[in-house]
């Protein structure tokens, strides 16, 4: 029998990487919040790779941290190896990645949530979202659990990951199931359909886990962590810890033969899998078929934690039958005697069509219903956490009667991610990439705090103390750049000797330090040799000064592009426009605009099928409206 179980401001359905950020953000903004998970031991679980960050994803984690989210801090507490990627390719693409201790990560996150004021955690499967009709739209009133408990609330955030009608596929065997051997959530999809929400069916997969004892490490290549550790969180000072290595092996012609001989048993080729899988994350059998010329693929072996011998086999995601999996793994150097602990599997799940959302991640058709993470068609822990944070902030702001927080494409990767999903939609699980960000030189991981911490402070997720520290850092950067602009290096013998050592042309008259720093062969650190009066500054400050000076030209140009971009972005479109009544729009534009109801002319311009002429029409339409008023 149904019963009334309590009243909350915000209810969060799912406690994966999205749900944790949602719940914490909402509670921290002062909303009475409850988060549900089918199994509380699965909070912040990593059912796939045991790592956080990487290209573009690392940027997302830094942004989450700069706004006051938890992922960066939790990673700093629990990582076992740290790496800097792309260090030679320039500051825009420089990225952090950490291997984490999967269990410790979960325990830390769960504990943080348990201690969070305003936040209750409940083990339960949500089977229904409850709404009332309000004019011609619906409004959230609560959620119902499998056991009949009804929780009244003002906002609901769906962060269901891959649980909705989850189906596990291993070769010719398939069964109803969630990730990592957990139960799926089989009922909620129907409730969503009933509310008029459109669902997609997506697919993803994960490779096998092996016992470390069974690996012959003499045949694989060691991949140690970096000596210098850069923390994810701007609040973490310095970290020193023992790091654990990853290992590298590769497929052989034998592996490829095993796969080819057994392709007919792959559900991907027999048609048993209907969900759409990601292009960037193909299974090993996909890779062999699509890139037939490639003789070998590299395979990483990654530790799952310090208190386990389980190892993750990156690059071998597969939905081939178990016996074939074992046979093919044994063809990899070092894995001849492999002991598999968990098989690779593919998982199919329901997600929503994200174009049903506003940029605040609230459903257009159901007031108070938000969604974030993999349910929105994304893939990856970081993408999930980023959306979860924004959905949590916006659900709370809604309850508090405030305007939503929307980051645009020029402010953050988070903005690019959400805008891509909501405006363009996706037909495969969406992964963040630096190449998706048109202003990536501005959206660097090193300046995420400069971009976003003031916003986090204004929103209420950044403490006074942290904000003060941030302001000190910001001032130091400005002061130091000013000082370099004002200070002149005299053409002394010592200075010219310094320049000659670096193959830099000598100076005849005095030259500002900032000019010297602009020379590619001169680094900020190196310049210290002749710049005697420089103040003692933290690494973060020195890094900002150096990047700001060295890339000034390009940064300025991107900022000009942003200025152009903002013009259309700032032209807000009213939500109640019936575009079929707007004179001069093409038919396709009318249909798309009515369907997506973009929030600005800029957003409209990114909808496929809306042409530049249609944008002109919208601008004139807006001006008409303005003058009529």
């Amino acid at each position: 029998m149904d019963y009334f179980a309590g009243e909350y401001d915000v209810a969060v359905v799912g406690a994966g990487h999205a749900g944790c950020e949602t719940a914490l953000a909402s509670a921290r903004l002062g909303c009475k919040t409850i988060v549900f998970a089918i199994n509380l031991d699965s909070i912040a679980n990593m059912p796939c790779n045991p790592s956080v960050g990487g290209t573009a994803k690392g940027q997302l984690v830094r942004e989450i941290d700069a706004l006051g989210g938890e992922m960066g801090k939790n990673t700093d507490k629990t990582f076992i190896q740290s790496k800097i990627l792309n260090s030679a390719k320039g500051p825009a693409v420089f990225s952090l990645r950490a291997q984490v201790d999967r269990r410790r990560y979960q325990i830390e996150m769960k504990h943080t949530m348990e201690r969070q004021q305003n936040l209750d955690i409940r083990q339960a499967e949500i089977v229904e979202v409850l709404t009332e009709d309000k004019a011609d739209e619906k409004r959230i009133t609560g959620v119902k659990t499998h056991t009949g408990a009804i929780y009244k609330c003002k906002a609901v955030v769906l962060t269901t990951g891959t649980y909705l009608k989850g189906k596990i596929i291993i070769g010719d065997v398939s069964y109803s199931g969630g990730p990592d051997g957990l139960f799926p959530a089989n009922k909620l999809s129907d409730s969503l359909l009933e509310k008029g929400i459109e669902l997609f069916r997506f697919k993803t997969g994960t490779p096998a886990r092996l016992n470390k004892r069974s690996i012959d490490f003499s045949k694989v290549e060691e991949q140690p962590g970096d000596e210098r550790i850069i923390p994810f969180s701007f609040e973490t000072e310095e970290i020193e810890k023992e790091q654990v290595s990853c290992w590298l092996t590769h497929t052989t012609s034998e592996t490829h033969k095993v796969i080819r001989d057994n392709l007919h048993r792959s559900p991907l080729y027999s048609g048993n899998i209907k969900g759409v899988g990601p292009r960037y994350c193909p299974s090993i059998e996909d890779k062999i078929v699509r890139f037939a010329d490639k003789e070998s693929h590299q395979i990483f072996i990654e530790p799952m934690g310090l208190e386990t011998e389980e190892m993750y086999l990156q690059g071998m995601s597969s939905s081939l039958p178990e016996d074939v999996q074992i046979e093919m793994m044994k063809t990899l150097p070092g894995l001849e005697n492999v002991a598999v602990m968990r098989s690779a599997y593919a998982i199919e799940y329901d997600c929503i069509n994200p174009t049903q959302l506003k940029l605040s991640l609230e459903f257009r058709k159901v007031e108070g219903l938000f969604s974030g993470g993999q349910i929105n068609g994304s893939s990856g822990y970081e993408e999930a956490a980023a959306q979860g944070l924004m959905a949590g902030i916006n659900a709370a702001l809604k309850v508090l009667g405030k305007e939503p927080l929307v980051l645009d494409r020029s402010q953050a990767y988070i903005g690019v991610l959400i805008d891509d999903l909501v405006t363009k939609g996706t037909r495969e699980p969406y992964r963040m990439m630096t190449s998706r960000a048109e202003y990536r030189l501005l959206l660097r991981q090193d300046n995420a705090d400069l971009r976003l911490t003031p916003i986090g402070y204004e929103t209420g997720l950044i403490s006074e103390e942290r904000y003060n520290n941030f302001n000190i850092k910001r001032n130091q950067i400005e002061e130091e750049i000013k000082r370099l602009e004002m200070t002149v290096a005299a053409p002394t013998e010592q200075v010219n000797e310094f320049l000659a050592k670096r193959d830099s042309s000598e100076i005849r008259t005095g030259i500002k330090f900032i000019e010297l720093l602009r020379r590619p062969e001169i680094s900020y650190e190196g310049l210290g040799e002749i710049d005697k009066d420089r103040p003692e500054l933290s690494y973060a400050v020195r890094e900002q000064v150096s990047i700001a000076v060295k890339y000034e030209g390009y940064i300025k140009r991107q900022m000009q592009q942003v200025e152009q971009f903002k013009k259309l972005e700032n032209r807000k479109l009213p939500v109640d426009v019936d575009y079929s009544q707007v004179h001069g729009l093409s038919n396709e534009a009318r249909q798309k605009l009515n369907q997506l109801k973009p929030e600005s002319v800029g957003q409209a311009s990114r909808i496929s099928g809306v042409s530049p002429a249609d944008i002109s029409v919208l601008l004139i339409f807006l001006e008409q409206n303005r003058r009529k008023k």
Partner: protein, 459 residues
């Protein structure tokens, strides 16, 4: 105000006289004039709302392009309510294009279809009641423009454009995959490789713009096509108008087997005259192809010069041809009046009432002046429009390719001065973006597609 970037375009229909106007609107208009105009004093010292005489120069080498009048109009009392500069040039289309290119190089962007009017409206210059008319104007201009773009993009030029763009996108996707998948066993692109590739692309692009300069400029203007029965004197007329003995003229019907074209200047209007094989039912295969092509040319023509033998009666064949040109602006030329008589000529004229008819004898050189006057009249009255959108689109393409060259050169410079890959990529992407604006394709989606189809990446 709606937007502060500066736009420019040729704002007079070309060919209506010796003068053409380039209009520049936006906050940068005066600054651009400052760079390009050399008058008695610097441009900034001229009073607003003045017209000033001087030279238009190429600031790169101080070469004088044209003798011009430049008007300076200060916001907000202008058509767009922005600062406006109008450059009145004397030269024909070639000079106008050159000037527009310089204006764009100095910081303006080519205006979109109907954009001056759009700005005028958005800035409150045009009355609300005319909003729909403004929208219709933009839509119709865009439609004409895209038709023109399509017709421009057929052929050799588009193939070359596509091949450069392909190279650019391949390069970008290789860079992006290197950047986004650093630990995958794909072959990482090196700085040296990027450098070699961008230098090659720069050369390709430069060759492409040369192609525009040499090939296209001449091939524009009014399309006039000469048709008529075989041996009525079409090739003679072409030779007469162009002053070159280009077509083979004989007394044997059907000598002109192919289309022969010539560019001439009629009262300042560039006219491309096409001589067609005579239209008649024919069994000769070679000629048949010529006839078919002639019919296509009639469809594409802005003006049709229909020649009739004044020494004969109007035949069924003539009527057949008249039917084909019915919808077109046509001038009927009664040739060979020297061997005809007044009665016969009047008889023919009565049967063709309502049409422009010119009596002519090419042999004796009469009627040719009148033909030129009639063509000019039709044009000035606006009864025939030169395919102006093609011209403007063409200028737009050229300007965009030029911008692509500038961007790729910046990438080359960036590499030489030791900047990292992520900076250089910005320039390379900009270059691809400019080319994409010609074809209307988006760089980021193409790149994403290439990454996934060319490289093996995944967990």
């Amino acid at each position: 105000m709606y937007s502060s970037d500066t736009i420019a375009a040729i704002s007079t229909p070309q060919g209506t006289g010796g003068i053409g106007i380039i209009r520049i609107s936006g906050s940068g208009a005066f600054e651009i004039a400052e760079q390009l105009f050399k008058g008695r004093k610097p441009f900034k010292e001229y009073k607003p709302n003045s017209i000033n005489h001087g030279c238009l120069i190429n600031p790169a080498n101080s070469e004088i392009i044209d003798d011009v009048l430049v008007s300076k109009m200060k916001a907000p009392n202008t058509f767009t309510r922005e600062d406006i500069v109008e450059i009145n040039c004397h030269g024909g289309m070639t000079v106008l294009k050159k000037v527009l290119e310089l204006v764009v190089k100095s910081g303006a962007r080519p205006a979109e279809a109907g954009e001056f009017t759009k700005r005028a409206f958005l800035n409150g210059r045009i009355d609300l009641s005319q909003a729909e008319a403004v929208i219709d104007l933009i839509n119709s201009k865009t439609e004409e423009g895209s038709k023109a773009a399509v017709s421009q993009l057929e052929g050799k030029l588009s193939k070359r454009l596509k091949s450069v763009r392909d190279k650019l996108l391949d390069l970008i996707s290789h860079i992006e995959v290197t950047v986004d998948y650093p630990e995958h066993d794909i072959e990482e692109i090196t700085g040296q490789e990027v450098y070699a590739a961008i230098k090659e692309i720069r050369n390709d692009l430069e060759r492409l713009t040369e192609g525009y300069d040499k090939g296209r400029i001449l091939r524009e203007g009014l399309n006039a096509v000469i048709i008529g029965k075989p041996n009525v004197g079409k090739s003679s007329l072409l030779n007469e108008l162009s002053g070159v003995n280009k077509a083979i003229v004989t007394d044997i019907p059907g000598t002109t087997r192919d289309i022969i074209e010539e560019f001439i200047n009629i009262g300042g209007i560039p006219v491309r005259i096409i001589d067609t094989a005579g239209i008649r039912e024919t069994s000769d295969l070679v000629e048949k192809i010529g006839v078919q092509r002639a019919e296509i040319e009639i469809d594409n023509a802005d003006i049709v010069l229909m020649m009739i033998d004044a020494s004969e009666v109007i035949t069924a064949a003539d009527r057949e041809i008249l039917k084909k040109v019915d919808a077109k602006k046509a001038i009927i030329i009664l040739n060979k009046t020297d061997i005809s008589d007044i009665e016969r000529i009047n008889q023919i004229k009565t049967s063709l009432q309502g049409k422009i008819i010119i009596e002519m004898s090419i042999k004796e050189g009469t009627g040719l002046d009148r033909l030129e006057t009639e063509i000019k009249n039709l044009f000035v009255k606006g009864d025939i429009k030169a395919n102006q959108e093609i011209l403007l689109t063409n200028v737009r393409h050229k300007v965009l390719i030029d911008s692509a060259v500038v961007s790729i050169s910046e990438a080359v410079n960036a590499y030489q001065s030791g900047l990292p890959l992520d900076c250089i990529t910005i320039d390379i992407r900009n270059s691809a973006d400019y080319l994409g604006q010609i074809t209307g394709e988006s760089v980021s989606e193409d790149v994403m597609h290439r990454i996934f189809s060319r490289f093996c990446i995944g967990k």
